[in-house]
Symmetry: C2
Subunit: 673 residues, 2 copies
């Protein structure tokens, strides 16, 4: 009974497929109700659909390398639309690809502007209080948050290609920056702190630009989704805990961010007495904001959540102003500098002892900012189905931060919460960011003095309400359900952030992500196959208890490409299957294994170490008087087997179209015990 | 015309396979000449061999984790033979597994000893001159090489499980150690240099022990074979160049190891005049050694190569002694301390400023030593077909170096060349190492004064002759033929070593190896499939130009597990195939793509990011009014699809047994343009 495994046909070279069909008289399996002409071949000798396979066309080395480079760095074919264009057209296209606003701007119209105006105003009302609060997270004076929300969105609007992202300072990056900067310089003691912040922002921008230009954007994919979920949740809790200072009106507060130091700080301060007015303001507005957030989850009422922070600020400021609660110990903002961003070009450290720490902080915060912005961009791009060029986005974000660092901004990126509001408010293009930017400009020029009496407690509530959304318990549960290793990565990053620091959490997240990749390539799966009764199908005997092994033959499937990182494991795992199986067979008085069939369908690629491993496997088996048979090696594998002369070593007559063919050939040759 | 792809059957759940067979009336393909009872089902309604697949048996979480840990760290099942044994027996087995000599020692006999004696004497005669020479490479006095060849092989003989490895100092590790140590301390100025060498040796041993005990031995697999080939060749050339000092009798020689500094040093010294007597000795013995090596390649004459170095030493020493050539500027060894190893336990830095550099140098040299020893162990184990437990080997090597560091040895490991001689001389067990060790002991106690007149030039010749074997041009050519990327790794490591330093070369080797792994998991292959005319086989249209696309349907195969590192790429690549294809089809007035079939046979695993990617792919396609169809997802993928509810989102009726089934179902539904 000989079948031909059709699915396996592509892996065979003409000589071999002919050989197999000649030798075995393999016939094509056909559906007896077949509707097309195939049925006429049923009794024929020709094999109508074993096509000549042939080695894949031999590629010129130059093209081979070109293809590899293209697929690695230009997989999105960024220059595709430059093809077959005149030179002047190419220049226009190039200009437009750097400044997409000149592309979509041509089709801009009043009805689009209506949507952008409304959403721009909405995110402005949301961002102004958040800006002030986030600047405090980064240990910067409040106006720097507003500065960042003025320049950065303007630059992005001209260069970015996401239509929905809302640009500005965000909580996690502010915390990360604040924590790393104050490890270097005490924020209260020196103007150098501010200068280092600009330096870090500058290098964050340079990092993003470099990744974009060098088309290394894929590097951010190495921070796995699971790790980000844990990192974000940990950062959210850390940020929320930091706000206890403002919310409870504590004066002496720890500088550490880990949960133990913070809780100790909170309890120690308890017997100094907390300020009840502060707590009253903080807790009541926090309740208000959280309820508003809950209501805003319905798409219809999204504006409730959007205007709640601004409403809180206005109400609480008014309340403090009329009650003069600040005289009773309620801490207030006190002073926001009026006027537009001053230049900060001369403030950046381009030399001196802070340069290297500026670069380090810049690279880390730039990468994190990038991760957040790209994740947001991708989410909304896939919701509205437009393509986003990750590398071009990075160039836009990088330019934005470089320009920002010269104009008193700190690291800006896309904000999850504000982008969602932007989307729900019906934004159409990046003009929403321009509208927001103009509103922030007006705020800076006109109404900053009005924030004087804004209580810090309400800013703390705004931050807490905003970061609650970063804790995604559903996602964590899904991770647990789908992939336990992902869950471990998530929890590791989470605990790292809350018990140590943001940087340690980040390090754990990256380390676990890498460990997962390494594990994946080091320990591929293997399975022993058995025959499903009454069929010629060979399946994993653990998954199919009914599958039975063939006497004298052991069939092992390797479920991965074989590279240097796993070649030894694969070889030794196969030999261990053989040893274990032989021990069991001897015990049960069955014939010992005389043929080892390696099912190679899932082996999509192999490198020189893999070839060595197969060579050694062959030799080890020879010593044990076991014949090595290969079933269905793929095209790339066959090319390399031939290049390394391994096909001759193993013998072409030991390489089969399918497991079934191999068993059919050797099953009858097995010697009885 | 409907076929059932049998090979794909394992990926399906009962509901689905039943559904498919019900809906499509799928019938089993049968060989019309079938010899068994299957043919009786040909017209029947039963499906004798579409077995109920069922989700793979749901595993208890504990077992799932246990299995993963076991497969990662205990893949060699090291405790297998402890099973079902009494406690005292377990103790004996445990003791034997730590000291294998008590296992194989029981069966040791005189005939085995004969082989071991001969090979032990042979490698002793080879190692004594090498030891003296290699100690100089590490900038240590000559006796330390001999010390290392006395203690280390003894310890290994008791604990190691390789029967063929010859233990002692080796060229590459000596060079690496010498180069890293002298970056910290000037070797000539201070006793601290020696102390740091012992410290590094101690921590090299600790590193090896730790890797073995923690079962992290697989980490050394990450240094790819290709990188090692390049690194070794580079190190060999660097070592050979260093010997120009001794060979040409140059007095002022550079401390750098890169080729440019060395060549400059050589040419600068030329006009001071080289010492012709030194050159005469060096060149003539080098010629002799290389010829002997060439002759020794024939297995019958291996002893020619084995005794040549000792012969050279004796002849040259005698020659210098009678001619008193040392008075004419021929540099000689002058002094080797007589007597057995002194204790060095109190010399190791356990604190102070050199501790951290000692640890760093120890970890690096320990890893390199390990790589070399494990590679040798594996090679010979597969030649004689015995299993080697990599982790246990590491424990043995680690203990050996820790003990060595306490007894004035520096880092020892297995030597490629001496192990090969050992094997060819017919060694049977590690007793050969004991024999060698005893000979070295006698040398230390009795004849070291005789080496006084040994010219350094002959030691240089011995080193050059030994390291020439590390340059494996054939391996490099094979790398080029099989895998271009491997070749780049090889060349990168090679140039790194010869143009910069051993450490830089090593760093390049590791970096390229990692880059390859990252590339592999970041940019998996995808292919568009077409139908081979007259068949139901779907194959890569680039490989099979005859394959034709189905109107209105695009079939894409993903050739890798989908993880966070490639999920976005896979998603965007599939969408790009769709965009490109649609553009081409519109141009040719063909119907636009209405169904996208993703062939998932090679997707062996998926994680949460992969699930997200498929979710987003589904949503993007929905926006474009394209239906997503999956063909043949594997069992693990299906479990995760179900856990994440993705099967419901995509629709169970969109998941098919094979591409052919899917095309059969939707091919007729395609709307004409």
């Amino acid at each position: 009974m000989i079948y031909c495994d059709i699915e396996g046909a592509d892996s065979l070279w003409p000589s071999m497929s002919n050989r197999i069909s000649d030798e075995l008289g393999t016939r094509v399996m056909e559906d007896i109700k077949s509707e097309d002409s195939l049925s006429s071949h049923r009794h024929g000798d020709t094999l109508p659909y074993i096509h000549k396979v042939g080695a894949p066309p031999k590629q010129n080395l130059f093209y081979e390398i070109k293809d590899a480079v293209k697929e690695t760095f230009f997989s999105d074919n960024p220059l595709g639309h430059f093809k077959d264009q005149t030179r002047s057209r190419k220049f226009v296209l190039g200009f437009q690809s750097l400044f997409p606003i000149f592309e979509w701007g041509k089709e801009y119209n009043l009805s689009k502007f209506k949507g952008d105006l409304i959403s721009g105003l909405t995110i402005a009302s949301l961002c102004i209080p958040q800006d002030i609060a986030y600047a405090k997270l980064a240990n910067l004076p409040p106006q720097y948050g507003l500065y960042t929300s003025f320049v950065a969105p303007l630059v992005y609007a001209f260069m970015g290609s996401s239509r929905d992202i809302a640009i500005g300072p965000v909580a996690v990056v502010s915390l990360l920056l604040g924590s790393m900067l104050s490890d270097e310089i005490d924020p209260n003691s020196s103007h150098d702190y501010l200068r280092l912040a600009f330096t870090a922002t500058f290098f964050a921008g340079i990092t993003q630009l470099a990744l974009g230009f060098l088309r290394l954007g894929f590097l951010i994919d190495f921070l796995s989704h699971a790790a980000i979920v844990g990192f974000m949740a940990g950062a959210a809790i850390t940020i929320a805990l930091q706000q206890l200072k403002g919310l409870l009106g504590i004066t002496h507060f720890t500088k550490n961010t880990d949960i133990i130091s913070v809780m100790r700080s909170v309890f120690h301060s308890a017997h100094h007495g907390w300020n009840w007015q502060t707590i009253l303001i903080g807790v009541s507005f926090l309740t208000f904001l959280l309820i508003a957030k809950q209501i805003g989850k319905k798409k219809k009422y999204f504006w409730v959540a959007a205007i709640a922070p601004m409403t809180s600020v206005i109400l609480s400021t008014f309340f403090v102003y009329i009650t003069r609660a600040d005289k009773n110990g309620v801490s207030i903002v006190r002073h926001i500098k009026k006027g537009v961003n001053p230049s900060s070009a001369s403030e950046i450290f381009f030399s001196g002892k802070y340069l290297s720490s500026g670069i380090k902080i810049g690279v880390i915060s730039g990468m994190i900012a990038l991760t957040e912005a790209v994740a947001i961009g991708r989410t909304f791009a896939s919701m509205k189905d437009y393509q986003l060029d990750g590398n071009r986005e990075m160039v836009a974000l990088g330019t934005m931060n470089v320009v920002g660092s010269l104009t008193s901004c700190y690291v800006a990126t896309g904000s999850f919460s504000r982008s969602a509001v932007n989307y729900m408010a019906g934004c159409n293009t990046a003009v929403a960011n321009i509208v927001m930017s103009i509103v922030v400009l007006l705020t800076l020029e006109l109404i900053t003095p009005l924030f004087k009496y804004t209580p810090n407690a309400v800013l703390a509530s705004i931050i807490i309400a905003a970061v609650v959304g970063l804790i995604d318990i559903d996602a964590a549960i899904l991770l647990w359900k789908i992939d336990k290793f992902d869950f471990v990565a998530c929890i590791g990053a989470f605990f790292g952030v809350i018990f140590k620091s943001v940087e340690i959490g980040l390090l754990i997240a990256v380390a676990i992500s890498f460990a997962k990749i390494l594990l994946q390539v080091t320990r591929p799966r293997t399975a022993v196959l058995g025959k499903l009764p009454g069929t010629i199908v060979y399946r994993n005997i653990l998954q199919y208890p009914k599958a039975t092994q063939v006497p004298g033959i052991l069939i092992v499937r390797v479920d991965s490409a074989v590279y240097f990182s796993n070649s030894n494991y694969v070889k030794e795992r196969i030999l261990r299957w053989l040893t274990d199986e032989d021990a069991a067979r001897t015990e049960n008085n069955l014939s010992r294994t005389q043929y080892l069939i390696v099912e190679m369908s899932p082996v999509t690629d192999i490198d020189t170490s893999g070839i060595h491993a197969f060579e050694e496997l062959f030799k080890s088996l020879q010593k044990r008087e076991v014949q090595l048979i290969l079933a269905n090696p793929g095209p790339i594998v066959m090319v390399k087997f031939q290049a390394s002369n391994l096909t001759n070593l193993i013998g072409e007559d030991k390489i089969f179209l399918s497991v079934a063919d191999a068993v059919a050939t050797f099953g009858s040759k097995v010697e009885e015990p």
